[in-house]
Symmetry: C2
Subunit: 290 residues, 2 copies
């Protein structure tokens, strides 16, 4: 049996917490991988001790990125599936069951992301100009599917860490003609798009969207200029009513790169909320949802 | 008499054209100073030759920043005042008249800017949280007047060249508590402000505003969240119907600092248009206009 490596778990948790480059779905799968590893390697004298230690890690993972519902959702799915199945099992068997459930959920999540992208790509069809904000692996999947069908892109740089530049680089590698703009130019360029397409960090119970800060501005501009605004994400990103009000994560103000002045406070809130009334349609793995 | 210095004029014109730090009113006054210098120093054998060369320079200045109505407006005011007054005058006298008209207009413009700021500051009163975008000397005047009256500021960084940082520095020097955010966070912070206040690059005949790109997004967010949106600028910034459709200046895409990729075009349009319906009030040197 592999020896326990608590340091490895702590490092993995810190990586998920500090990550600014991957989307919510990718980070949720990273959390499940940490649970699979923990299930197989955590030190325990009995199944009961093992479960206790494992659930403590699951709880820490579920809370580590409060704006990303997929993380809490998938971790809770894993807990609810694992707990009844490992009751009264020998430790080695419990480890295998918990790891298998985690791997299965990773695969379900991956397929759901791909299917959601497939649904939106099929709906949009060929020859479209699509505008997006931030970098979503689901939206990257939409562009990949439409690359040979004459799609072109308008991409915001997405301050403070410019993930829009990384998206532009990937689109360019697919030979997709791409226009890169500052976030402030959204209002100037949205009318050139057939549709706005964005991923999601969370979907709230009232149908509103939590996504990278600036998404709400793009939705307002799209509505004002008559351009449809579509969200594409798998159902794991649904935030449950029991979780209470969503938290908007703030990151290190240093990311803005501004010098320090006595009376100036720099704010770096990463997510904003786009109300359901500004969303033309929400595509998930089963198609256009309500 | 001072010798003519055509090189000095060309340098001055290039400086106005390339300037990204000063507002429209300041640059309009810089253009008038170039005309004053030209009037006094341009080489000419006769008043007629002098007028011909001078009007050619005026025409080039009027066109050099098409998004900034104040430049064309003040240069045209100068032309219309100077031309009838210098008819049949000796050259030395014509030079003095043209220079005096220029100096007088510079003073009028300066006073109009200050009076517009005074009008808005008086209307807003004490203890306000004011949000702004870009760096306007008129809005800086509003903050200066309210500095001792408990004003605080929310300032966007204003990509690509971050003039919002320069504004934050100046506000901090006045001991005004200031929050600095990315442009993308506008929608998150606008509800914390009592009012949005912005300057103008131009006012169009239909009452809409041309200002730094991103202003339209801030106006949309302010309207969506019930925060009043005020513009403050002197009347010289009114674009005349005869000038036709306004041009939105594009600057060097390198200002965005993005690497180059084969299929990616970087756009750097500096100004956007905020429709009149999103503007709660327009303050000029005479108060709240229609």
């Amino acid at each position: 049996m592999i020896r326990p490596e608590p340091l490895q778990f702590e490092q993995g948790l810190a990586q998920v917490r500090d990550d600014r480059t991957q989307g919510a779905a990718e980070l949720a799968r990273a959390c499940l991988r940490l649970l699979v590893d923990s299930a197989l390697t955590i030190t325990a004298a009995s199944t009961s001790d093992w479960r206790c230690a494992l659930l403590e890690r699951a709880e820490r993972l579920a809370e580590c990125r409060p704006s990303m519902a997929a993380i809490r959702h998938l971790v809770e799915c894993w807990q609810m599936t694992v707990i009844p199945r490992v009751n009264a099992r020998p430790l080695d068997e419990a480890r295998r069951i918990a790891a298998a459930v985690g791997r299965d959920l990773i695969e379900q999540s991956r397929q759901a992301t791909e299917q959601a992208a497939e649904q939106l790509a099929r709906f949009l069809g060929a020859g479209r100009v699509l505008m997006t904000h931030s970098l979503s692996s689901t939206i990257m999947g939409v562009f990949t599917r439409l690359a040979a069908q004459g799609v072109s892109a308008i991409v915001t740089e997405s301050r403070p860490l410019y993930e829009g530049r990384r998206l532009a680089e990937r689109l360019s590698a697919l030979d997709i003609p791409t226009t890169l703009i500052t976030d402030a130019q959204m209002g100037l360029f949205v009318a050139r798009a057939h549709a706005v397409v964005v991923g999601a960090d969370s979907r709230l119970p009232d149908g509103s969207l939590i996504n990278k800060a600036g998404t709400y501005l793009l939705a307002l501009a799209a509505r004002d200029q008559g351009v449809p605004f579509y969200v594409c994400s798998e159902r794991f990103k649904q935030r449950q009513p029991a979780w209470g009000a969503p938290e908007f994560e703030s990151m290190d103000p240093c990311e803005l790169g501004a010098p320090g002045w006595t009376c100036v406070t720099v704010e770096n809130v990463y997510f904003d909320r786009t109300p359901a009334r500004l969303i033309s349609g929400w595509f998930d793995e089963q198609g256009l949802g309500c």
